[in-house]
């Protein structure tokens, strides 16, 4: 027993002490966070070039007339507009002399005709207008056309604004009164299922590589003269599992820091919708205000719903399937590692039978979060090769407790079965060099 602890300690410490562990565990997420933060920062401090644009507005939609009868135009985003009158040909020759970047021509084009829905403007310049500016002008003009037409149809503006605010929320309730939310459960299930998939592939491969390393290094026989093959295999699986848990604990910790950090950051900016929309002009429009309110409302709803999940149960189930799924597949990966010889390119063919059920489970999982009550969902949540991905994904849909229990028992049995099977293959394969081993031989060893 003492020896298995030694093996676990070595497997764990050699990996945790490696520089690459530090990089992937701490620096990579921090780097990603910084990248993300930088994008937000750049968005907030959008300092695009200011474009000076001459506007010839024949429609009268883009400019408005003040009480004193003067025609005026408001700047939009990073665009500064100057109204101009006259012949288009002349103006297009002039704009540069007047230190402008371009000329926008809005022809008078039957904007009030309700049959007409597409219009063309002209922008004359030697520089492109830019996708943001195009969309800003587009939006502004659409809105003006819409308002003009509504006014012509004598529809009350206030009523219209109220109509825009109509929102529909479907509250789903199970018979037992528990609240469910398909969308959220779907998202949550997908997330957890994907995480399980990632865990099994990444750490399973790590186990396989570790076994192959021992075999190609030729150290395995030295070690096997002191410990049983099963102890070595199990010690490696547990040690690498502990590395995974460490990595997750660190990530959860980082996520908490990020969460609080983001909270503080958003608290500083959110009350000011102008900052979020990036432009004072756009923020001033009522439509933008609604967007922010709606976003806050949705966020609150999501948080409330997450609160309505049985979080301790969810976390408990996740940990169980994380461990069970990892142990089940890690043993199989170890068996493959032991059978692969010095030529690691053979491993591809032998790994395939393991990755197939994982990938299949992943696809089933994507279907199952849409159809949580289908027979496929039930059976795949019981079958040990797929249950580690399926069952945690089904948890937000509140499956019956006996289904969960059956699935857990089956996973324990399945894990014991694959470990016993893998141990037999491992015992034979690990001391076999210079021979290409086929899947059939592996199965033969397992059946012995």
């Amino acid at each position: 027993m003492n020896k298995i602890l030694l093996i676990i300690a070595r497997e764990y410490l050699t990996r945790v002490k490696k520089r690459s562990f530090l990089i992937t565990t701490i620096l990579a997420p921090i780097g990603m966070m910084l990248l993300f933060a930088m994008q937000i920062f750049i968005l907030l401090l959008d300092t695009g070039d200011v474009k000076k644009i001459m506007v010839k507005d024949d429609s009268g939609l883009f400019s408005h007339t003040t009480v004193s009868g003067q025609k005026k135009i408001r700047d939009l985003g990073n665009m500064q507009f100057t109204l101009a009158e006259g012949d288009l040909e002349k103006l297009s020759a002039q704009y540069r002399e007047k230190q402008m970047d371009g000329l926008l021509y809005i022809p008078n084009n039957h904007y009030h005709d309700n049959q007409k829905s597409s219009f063309e403007l002209q922008y004359i310049s030697d520089q492109p207008l830019g996708i943001t500016n195009v969309s800003i002008i587009n939006r502004k003009l659409s809105k003006e056309i819409r308002n003009a037409r509504l006014q012509a149809a004598e529809i009350d503006q206030e009523l219209l604004q109220r109509l825009d605010k109509i929102k529909i929320n479907i509250l789903e309730r199970a018979v037992d009164g528990k609240e469910v939310n398909s969308g959220l459960a779907f998202g949550f299930g997908m997330g957890v299922g994907f995480l399980m998939y990632f865990i099994i592939i990444v750490y399973g491969t790590m186990v396989m590589k570790g076994v192959m390393e021992e075999k190609t290094n030729r150290i395995v026989e030295v070690i096997l003269s002191s410990v049983r093959p099963f102890q070595l295999m199990l010690g490696k699986i547990i040690g690498i599992g502990a590395v995974g848990i460490t990595q997750f604990v660190i990530w959860i910790f980082l996520a908490l820091i990020l969460y609080t950090g983001m909270g503080l950051l958003l608290a500083g900016y959110l009350p000011n919708p102008e900052a979020l929309s990036g432009s004072p002009m756009m923020g001033a429009s009522p439509a933008q205000n609604i967007d922010v309110e709606e976003m806050q409302f949705k966020m609150q709803m999501v948080l409330d719903r997450i609160g309505s999940f049985n979080l301790p149960l969810l976390i408990g189930v996740f940990i169980f399937y994380f461990l069970g799924g990892y142990l089940l597949y890690a043993a199989l990966f170890a068996a493959v590692g032991s059978a692969v010889g010095d030529d690691s390119s053979d491993s591809q063919a032998l790994v395939f039978p393991i990755t197939i059920p994982i990938m299949l489970s992943f696809f089933i999982m994507m279907y199952v979060v849409n159809q949580p009550n289908s027979p496929l969902a039930f059976w795949s949540s019981i079958f040990p090769l797929s249950s580690p991905l399926i069952m945690p994904a089904l948890m937000p849909f509140s499956p019956p407790w006996w289904q969960l229990l059956l699935s857990m028992v089956m996973l324990i049995i399945g894990f014991m079965f694959t470990t016993a099977l893998a141990a037999k293959i491992y015992r034979t394969g690990i001391l076999m060099w210079g021979k290409k081993i086929t899947l059939r031989e592996m199965l033969k060893w397992a059946m012995r």
């Binding site: 030694l6 050699t14 150290i219 030295v222 003269s225 002191s226």
Partner: protein, 301 residues
């Protein structure tokens, strides 16, 4: 009483019999050689002794008790296929291997340090194994084999890949460990390498033990009574000689006598013939030659 006793060991893989009713007895503090070509079943036998494999039938007794995995501390095993974790530091790696063999942390550290001092590598503790040359790694491997003071040291092809300096180093360490009470079991197909080290040998061929015994006695048993004689002066005519001549040159003569010929009689005959003898040497067969004479009848079956 024998220290290591293999009794009628049988081991088959699929349809091939790797070890076929082999019995071996090794006396304490002896250097015993298990010789035979590649694939003869030597490594399988060793894996059975070290409890890595279980025999289909037969027993292994070590120091009077049946061998099992919990008694592997008594054994120090250097396999033919040997290596180290490349990314670990020398000290860490030796500590790990020593502790796997059952030493406590303090014991292990003390033993490792004294071995490193003996091999003049005390300052390697924090070096990574992959930074070491092959010869250096071989020293580490040897230390890891004997660090826990095993009573039985098993060396499978110990000199394969060793440079001459390490070969001599390990050879002298083997003698020292033997003097301190260890029993040594060699396994090799390079028979000429162990001829002068081993006191006793067993020849293994196709899973069977074909011959065993004291090296000196075996050589006597299989000798062909060939003598090599160095001389100066003219050659006599060899009338009524008690031997026949195999070859002759200006300074050397090879002769073939019979089993009942006394070497003294040969010498006195040559002296009587008026020859000046510079050297007189009986040619004993090498283990390799003995092996071939023993194996060829089997192979020809």
């Amino acid at each position: 009483m024998s220290f290591l006793l293999l009794n009628n060991i049988v081991k088959t893989f699929d349809k091939t019999t790797a070890v076929d009713h082999v019995s071996i007895e090794v006396q304490p503090q002896r250097i015993y050689g298990m010789l035979g070509p590649n694939g003869a079943g030597k490594t399988t036998l060793i894996r059975i002794i070290t409890s890595i494999l279980l025999p289909d039938s037969g027993t292994v007794m070590l120091d009077g008790e049946p061998m099992n995995i919990s008694r592997t501390r008594l054994i120090g095993y250097m396999p033919e296929e040997r290596g180290l974790y490349k990314k670990m530091k020398v000290g860490e790696e030796l500590m790990y291997l020593a502790r796997l063999r059952g030493l406590t942390k303090t014991e292990a550290k003390e033993k490792i340090l004294s071995w490193m001092q003996r091999f003049d590598i005390a300052d390697w503790w924090d070096k990574r194994v992959e930074e070491l040359s092959k010869g250096m790694q071989q020293k580490i491997q040897f230390i890891s084999t004997v660090v826990h003071q095993p009573r039985l040291i098993i060396l499978d092809e110990p000199f394969s890949g060793l440079d001459p300096i390490n070969t001599n180093l390990i050879r002298s360490e083997i003698y020292r460990l033997k003097a301190e009470g260890a029993t040594i079991l060699f396994s090799t197909h390079r028979m000429e390498q162990v001829e002068e080290i081993c006191e006793e040998i067993a020849l293994i061929h196709q899973g069977k033990k074909v011959l065993e015994g004291d090296v000196h006695q075996l050589k006597q048993q299989f000798k062909k009574h060939i003598f090599q004689i160095g001389f100066s002066g003219a050659l006599p005519t060899f009338e009524q000689a008690p031997f026949s001549i195999i070859s002759q040159s200006e300074r050397e003569l090879s002769i073939q006598a019979t089993a009942d010929t006394n070497p003294n009689a040969i010498l006195s005959y040559l002296i009587d013939q008026g020859m000046t003898i510079n050297a007189f040497n009986e040619l004993l067969p090498s283990l390799n030659e003995i092996f071939i004479t023993q194996v060829s009848p089997i192979s020809n079956e």
